[in-house]
């Protein structure tokens, strides 16, 4: 697939760059927008950003590799983010994540986000999702799910497999 940024997005980003006294400062916003649009940040997106902002690709790569939320890999259609921070950890988020991983055939001890080979699921352990009262919580794509049980997890998996 060839890389092409829609002209409306490009125009939007060009305008955005003018908000900053130094073009380089717009790098983060560019990357956010490109990840939003493409789902992850490809080499082409980095090169495009560098070209747009008068930088070298390595300058942009430094930034992308610093922030864990910028993704270099394509995500699964269903993105499961399990909270790992204290309240959720006490409420069994570790077991919940393990459950997801085992059901999907992923390594329950891996650190980084993992995607199933069929590209349907990505499971990830993340820091606090700011809903500690409803621990354990899961961010399913853009929806925050409170008090997630293993039964609910199975439902999520069943639904995701059908997509």
């Amino acid at each position: 697939m060839t890389f092409s940024v829609p002209s409306s997005l490009e125009a939007q980003l060009d305008e955005l760059a003018t908000h900053y006294p130094v073009k380089r400062s717009a790098s983060l916003m560019f990357l956010h927008a490109l990840q939003e649009h493409f789902g992850h940040i490809t080499d082409e997106a980095i090169e495009w950003t560098a070209r747009k902002l008068g930088l070298q690709p390595i300058n942009v790569l430094e930034l992308v590799t610093f922030y864990p939320m910028f993704r270099r890999e394509k995500l699964g259609r269903t993105h499961v983010k399990v909270c790992r921070t204290l309240s959720c950890a006490l409420a069994g988020s570790g077991e919940l994540r393990e459950h997801f991983c085992k059901k999907l055939g992923l390594d329950p001890h891996a650190h980084a986000p993992q995607t199933t080979p069929d590209g349907k699921f990505t499971v990830e352990f993340v820091e606090c999702l700011a809903d500690c009262g409803n621990a354990p919580v899961v961010l399913l794509n853009d929806d925050l799910l409170p008090k997630v049980s293993t039964a609910q997890a199975d439902e999520i998996i069943a639904k995701g497999k059908g997509l």
């Binding site: 070298q56 390595i58 300058n59 790569l61 430094e62 590799t65 610093f66």
Partner: protein, 571 residues
């Protein structure tokens, strides 16, 4: 880069330098308030510079006098104090009337000294620096311990061993044993950073010297740090993407064994290398170099600092241009009409031929790759014989940093000794060709050039009665020579080059010549004596001094006065 004119009239007295009085380890020292920074601009003097002026040393990794200050390695931490100021804004005095010093301490832990990084902290009047205090030593020990935590300690197989700051400082400032019992962080090994550079990320101390050099000196913003955090590594955009003509300087700059030269890596332990001061011959800039050789073989060139010429850098092309010296097909024998002969026979025959040659029947083509002394002797010979002379131009591409458009290392030497045509070298080559064709020139002397490539083809060479050639490597010209005299590479003899800016620089002998090859100036001296009857000097020092007396541009120069970094003359 600044060009220090040494023979120009004495410069006007510099304006008075404002000084600051400080104390270094209890000794009073006066240092300039401002000193040049990496770009030569005046900036407030730093603690590190002040301690160096006081005769001390501050260990450091990331600091380099010719690079922007980064202050990230923390190795140069120094304990210090400043004069105490009372509530009345007046200095607080001790009982003996000396100013009371407030040592820098942690804000909420006044018993713990707080050091400052000497590379980036300016000094102030009355400041006291303690580069050798127990607190400073403790800070160094701690920083070094931290840097060694994830270091692989693979010195036995590391190319940097022997010239590694991590090794040196560990001996001087480190602890004897490691307290680290946890697992080390593993990072990429043998990363192909560029066509000439290999990176070992585990050895890297992340000083960023290579990044700053590439961005600010070489003008190629190719390197960066990715995965910041525990796994941070130096990287280029793509493997192999670090490719400019100055990448190998990062190997010199790297204080540890992280960046290694593909050319030199695993070839030779550095402590076996004999280091010889020399000059690069790849262009008219004449970068000062150190030749590293062992048992007659050259293993590497490294830049040698000379602020009047190359600073501490050199280009990759020049640095790697040493292999031809050891080429298998080097000319090793004296040949008379293709048959092996001795130097004595050859020189005797050549001398007799030249002495008997009628005026104007000899032409001479020299090379601006020869030393000034050789060109001077050839000039003498040519004048005696009334010979047409010239040298071969060698123009190419230059750049804004070091590479000169003139690929001859000694073009100015050829002009100043009167051998090369003015204003453009090579301007008389056509005339020489014509004179051979018309039969006026019966004898041609060629040094270090393949004339078949500059308008004097083998057909013309065949018309000659005598073709006397001296060269280092075989060519179409050497193949047709009546007399072939094997010469020496610059690393096999001594001499001087005059660079494109008129810097007269001497170079020393690193390795022995191959086979029967002899330094050109040695046999030229003999030849000139035989033909002209003039006696000369049989040492390079004497020869240079004689040349200085006879060539106006060099008047007042002496071999000994050239020093290691040369002298600039008017060109």
């Amino acid at each position: 880069m600044s060009n220090a004119a040494t023979t120009a009239p004495a410069p006007a007295a510099p304006p008075p330098v404002e000084k600051i009085r400080i104390k270094v380890d209890g000794r009073d020292v006066e240092v300039p308030k401002l000193l040049p920074n990496w770009q030569g601009k005046l900036e407030p003097t730093t603690m590190l510079q002040a301690i160096q002026i006081a005769g001390g040393e501050v260990p450091h990794y990331c600091y380099h006098p010719k690079l922007p200050v980064a202050g990230n390695c923390r190795m140069c931490l120094v304990e210090f104090g400043t004069p105490m100021i009372g509530p009345d804004r007046k200095p607080v005095l001790n009982e003996d009337g000396s100013p009371k010093i407030a040592k820098s301490v942690l804000p909420y832990e006044p018993s713990t000294p707080r050091g400052a990084i000497a590379c980036a902290t300016p000094i102030s009047p009355g400041m006291e620096l303690y580069p050798n205090s127990p607190a400073t030593k403790q800070m160094r020990e701690a920083v070094l311990e931290s840097l060694l935590i994830n270091h692989p300690l693979d010195c036995p197989i590391c190319d940097q061993a022997g010239e590694c700051k991590l090794q040196e400082y560990s001996v001087q400032h480190g602890q004897a044993t490691s307290r680290f019992v946890e697992a080390k962080v593993h990072k990429p090994k043998a990363v192909d950073l560029g066509p000439r550079i290999v990176l070992d990320d585990e050895r890297c101390v992340l000083c960023t010297r290579c990044i700053r050099f590439s961005k600010d000196i070489a003008g190629d913003d190719a390197l960066g740090i990715v995965n910041r955090g525990s796994y941070n590594t130096i990287a280029a955009w793509k493997e192999g993407a670090f490719d400019n003509n100055y990448t190998l300087n990062t190997v010199d700059l790297c204080p540890v064994g992280a960046l290694t030269s593909k050319d030199f890596r695993f070839k030779m332990r550095v402590w076996f290398l004999k280091e010889t001061k020399s000059v690069c011959t790849s262009c008219g800039t004449g970068c000062n170099i150190t030749v590293g050789s062992r048992e007659g073989a050259i293993h590497r060139y490294e830049p040698r600092e000379n602020d009047a010429v190359n600073g501490p850098w050199m280009c990759d092309a020049g640095r790697l241009n040493y292999k031809w010296v050891a080429r298998e097909d080097r000319l090793k024998d004296v040949l008379i009409r293709g048959a092996k002969a001795g130097w004595n026979t050859a020189l005797k025959e050549i001398s007799a031929k030249l002495a008997a040659a009628p005026q104007g029947s000899v032409a001479l083509i020299a090379s601006a790759r020869q030393t000034t002394e050789e060109l001077f002797l050839l000039g003498k010979l040519a004048r005696k014989l009334g010979a047409l002379t010239d040298s071969v131009p060698r123009l190419g591409e230059g750049d804004r940093l070091l590479v000169n458009v003139d690929k001859n290392p000694n073009m100015n030497g050829a002009w100043l000794t009167g051998v090369a045509a003015v204003p453009a070298a090579g301007g008389r080559l056509g005339l020489i060709a014509e004179a051979i064709r018309s039969g006026q020139v019966r004898t041609l002397i060629v040094f270090g050039e393949d004339v078949t490539k500059c308008g004097i083809g083998t057909d013309l060479l065949a018309k000659l009665e005598t073709l006397i050639v001296s060269d280092i490597l075989p060519s179409a010209t050497t193949a047709t020579a009546t007399y072939l005299l094997p010469g020496c590479a610059h690393a096999e003899k001594r001499g001087t080059f005059v660079n494109a800016k008129g810097r007269v620089q001497k170079f020393m002998k690193a390795v022995e010549p191959k086979g029967d090859a002899r330094a050109e100036w040695e046999f030229l001296h003999e030849l000139v004596h035989n033909v002209t009857g003039q006696n000369g000097f049989s040492t390079i020092e004497g020869l240079f001094n004689q040349m200085a007396a006879e060539v106006p541009a060099f008047s007042g120069l002496e071999w000994a006065k050239l020093g290691d970094t040369g002298v600039t003359v008017q060109i």
